[in-house]
């Protein structure tokens, strides 16, 4: 038989000002199952909580109903007090007499009646409460970092330095990401290779970090603390253990004319190549789509010349299964390339290039060794026009957002051009300059005042070629919108920063959500920017939204802190208010599976001892289920229920309401 204690709080006089608490306690004492019912001025105070604890022990209570403020406020407090008295905390429920009753009604009998009825609802519910114990989920203290750009590197190093194992997976033959392709970085103009390469080497040599380059994520299963990840190590056709990195094979390779992705298509590379001199690992990879051995079965020169016999054509893709506790997505971003701007002649006129191509032209390790040369005729340009917001902030083109980094790198590009060609003519067409970072605006002012870059506020309507010159037609809105036509030798478009083309596919593998532009969605834009809605998967860098290097690094360290916090306990304890399945009545129709936003419903086979299959039923993964209950209301045979809000509890609550006398057929 239930032995329930009711504790009515005055909350100073927040409740007692409009509700007769003594009367409520007295009415409650007559409810069937209630053995102890009192009212007290401050239930949540220490003496108040002691009252509850003593009552539990003295009257051997099996259920506690505290009629006070909102459970969203003090449910944890009273549940902790109940636990300390030796009663399972989940046998304590709260009736909301303050926010839902005393504060919102006047002092009348109906208010006290309502309070009494709210208490009876919870008394009936508590009779069906079960003892629940927090769920313990083990954690594998290894982190997976997807993406080897500066974001991935920073996160990996922070986690590894805190003593945990890290597995880094990079799609390209070398880590370094977009930052490696930059010449110099704003606002300090220090060379990106110099500040990045040491970090890349640190990653390669760090004892806690296992690095897989030229590898992609094949599949991700499991849940927070227990992810099962399959990595596809694409065949490099080169045994990196044997290879010494001498580069003989690269020299001898007859195929020289493959447009080099690292140099954004401006330089060429061989079929067997190392992306850039400071690559980590600094060992070549064979591009099987362009190597004649793989296309026509002939050549094989690299194998002949290799002193370490490290070339193995028969190498196959390899699937590596790893167990990790947390996943950091740091897959970076891309910039818009396609003929997105027919009016600018991008893709039609070779001298109209994008920001990354300019970086390569300006970079010492670039195809022109740092000398700016026009891709069309190789001449050094005297006049360059830089166009900001080429694609960003343009709803008609489908990219309404601001890519955040172009104002700064456009100013940097103009500066680099002026440093390399003092009497060169640099013009920048802009809408608004967004230089909000530390020392950012000063950087742009320097470009304008010291390097006299001509900033014209207006958009370029079109570019056309006329006797070898590019005529840039724009407008200067600050000189009452006078049309402006500039003859330029080269035009650099600061095209929009967009998500990687395969980001949607990766998001689906990771079961994380992404926004309409395929950037990954954070859990909460302001309060949980580094986590996603899928527990255990975090974001770092531009894969979440366009971002410059300082923001990427600070976000990466934030993400690393979250991972280390997760790994600080051996087990993950979670509120036990999750769903559970009754195997007897579940008929395995699995219509519930697609309802669960957390993919927490799995298939479980029930077999007899001799192995014959009895039936397949639904199974709730305690790690993933967040307790929303949508599957519970959907299940036709009521085979799924949810602790804390079981069918019997809610049914009892609804049945305890009103109870018209005439219903009883009298």
């Amino acid at each position: 038989m239930a032995r329930i204690g009711v504790f009515v709080c005055h909350c100073g006089e927040n409740i007692s000002s409009t509700v007769d608490c003594a009367k409520v306690a007295e009415i409650a004492s007559n409810y069937p199952g209630v053995v102890y019912s009192i009212d007290y001025k401050y239930m949540c105070s220490d003496p108040g909580q002691n009252l509850i604890k003593e009552a539990i022990q003295k009257h051997k209570l099996t259920g506690v109903v505290v009629a006070a403020c909102s459970p969203r406020m003090h449910e944890p407090t009273f549940r902790k007090a109940t636990a300390e008295a030796g009663l399972n905390p989940y046998l304590c429920e709260m009736a909301n007499l303050r926010e839902h009753c005393s504060w919102v009604h006047y002092r009348e009998d109906t208010t006290t009646e309502k309070a009494a009825e709210l208490v009876r609802v919870l008394v009936e519910k508590v009779k069906h409460n079960e003892e629940l114990y927090p769920i313990k989920v083990p954690i594998t203290k290894t982190a997976l970092v997807i993406g080897g750009g500066i974001g991935g590197i920073q996160a990996a190093l922070d986690i590894a330095n805190s003593g945990h194992k890290v597995i880094m997976v990079e799609k390209n033959p070398s880590i370094g990401g977009k930052m490696a392709q930059l010449s110099e970085t704003f606002p300090t103009l220090d060379c990106s290779q110099c500040i990045l390469t040491p970090r890349m080497v640190e990653v390669a040599q760090h004892p806690n970090i296992t690095l897989y380059t030229y590898a992609e994520i094949e599949s991700v299963d499991g849940f927070i603390g227990n992810f099962k990840v399959t990595i596809r190590q694409k065949a490099k056709s080169v045994d990196h253990k044997a290879c010494t990195g001498c580069g003989l094979c690269i020299e001898k390779c007859p195929i020289k004319k493959i447009p080099d992705e690292f140099n954004a298509g401006l330089g060429n590379r061989a079929a067997i190549y190392v992306p850039f001199p400071q690559a980590v690992p600094n060992k070549p990879v064979i591009d099987r789509n362009n190597c004649t051995y793989f296309l026509k079965g002939k050549c094989g020169l690299c194998k002949k010349v290799c002193p370490a016999d490290a070339i193995h054509y028969e190498q196959e893709d390899e699937l590596i299964k790893v167990d990790v506790g947390a996943i950091v997505a740091a897959t970076g971003f891309d910039i818009k390339h396609s003929d997105f701007f027919p009016e600018y002649g991008y893709g039609k006129y070779p001298d109209v290039i994008d920001g990354l191509q300019f970086e390569r032209l300006a970079s010492a390790s670039g195809p022109t060794l740092g000398v700016l040369k026009r891709p069309s005729d190789g001449k050094e340009p005297e006049s360059i026009v830089f166009i900001a917001c080429a694609g960003s902030r343009d709803p008609a083109k489908g990219i309404p957002y601001c890519s955040k980094i172009c104002c700064m790198y456009t100013a940097k590009h103009a500066m680099l051009f002026k440093h390399k060609n003092h009497h060169g003519k640099a013009t920048v067409f802009y809408m608004d300059i967004r230089a909000g970072g530390k020392m950012y605006d000063e950087f742009v002012r320097r470009a304008i005042e010291e390097d006299d870059v001509n900033y014209i506020r207006g958009r370029v309507s079109r570019i056309y070629e006329k006797n070898g010159k590019l005529i840039v037609c724009g407008v200067d809105t600050l000189l009452n919108s006078r049309p402006v036509e500039i003859e330029a030798d080269m035009v650099v478009l600061a095209t929009a920063a967009i998500a990687n083309s395969d980001s949607e596919e990766l998001a689906q593998k990771l079961h994380i959500s992404y926004d309409p532009y395929h950037f990954f969605s954070e859990a909460h834009p302001k309060l949980r920017p580094v986590e996603t809605n899928t527990a255990g998967i975090m974001l770092a860098g531009a894969c979440q939204a366009p971002k410059d290097i300082p923001d990427t690094v600070s976000q990466a360290s934030g993400t690393a802190a979250k991972v280390v916090a997760l790994f600080s306990q051996d087990e993950l304890t979670r509120e036990p208010l999750i769903a559970y399945v009754n195997n007897n009545t579940c008929v395995g129709c699995f219509l519930c599976q697609s309802v669960c936003p957390y993919l927490a419903i799995e298939k479980e086979e029930i077999r007899r001892r001799d192995g014959t299959l009895v039936k397949t039923v639904a199974k709730i993964n305690p790690g993933l289920c967040q307790g929303c209950g949508t599957c519970v209301a959907l299940c036709r045979s009521k085979s799924i229920d949810i602790h804390g809000y079981t069918n019997r509890q809610i049914y009892a609550e609804v049945s305890a309401l009103f109870n018209r006398r005439e219903y009883a057929g009298v």
Binding site: N584, T585, V587, G588, C589, F590, L591, C592, Q593, S594, V595, T616, L634, R636, S637, K638, N647, R648, Y651, A652
Partner: protein, 266 residues
Amino acid sequence: MSELINKVSQFFSSGIIDLFIGYKKGRLGEGKPAFFTKPEQLNELIFDENCIVNLAVYLRKPELKKYSKIGVLANFGTLRALLQLAAENQIADGQYLILTVADGKVLEFANLKAIEEYVANNLPKPNPERIAFLKEIESKSREERWEFWTRELASCIRCYACRAACPLCYCEQCLVECNQPQWVGVPPTGMGNLEWHIVRAMHLAGRCIGCGECEAACPMEIPIGFLTQKLNMAIISNFGQVPGTKLEPDYALSTFKVDDKENFIR
């Protein structure tokens, strides 16, 4: 009919099947369900538009477990039921040998995919009298509709023939047999009957394939088929998901669109 009979007896003789579920002569010219285990019984096998009992309802019976391979003579309702059962993980591909007769020719379906295509391009128009009757009910005022349905449902005796005749009501323990909590009142009072028929309609919403067997089986001649038919017409027009036409689960109540239209939420 003879082409069907000797095709089935071939299956028997070559040991492909050891039980064939079909129809034989019943009362008033209707076909009634019949189970054939030996070729010589097959001369009673018939199949015409009066054979309306949905044979998919028998696939869940434990007595069928001892037969290794079962052949089923499927009318259009049975085909759609098989698709919906497959979508709900109840039957596997190739578990049964499925035949139908389309304009005189015997069709054997290699797999469920073949059934999916056959169903896709043979979807029948809803029968006009039922649509007219539904229109007539909907034209009544609210009070009249309430009075019509509470009177009709009150004569329900809770024999659960509608549940037993429906191939998609395969739960081992039906909700009405759950008494902790007692969701649906067991006594056939006006209230209990209404709750039972609301639950049955909601459980078939987005699943019912419209074979009409529940209404045919009801001994009290209550037009319960219209409850599920109305819901599924609404689901098809609102969400475009047609039950019993796809192998992949496409259940209206466990999927959603961000821009689902409604006009009653404040």
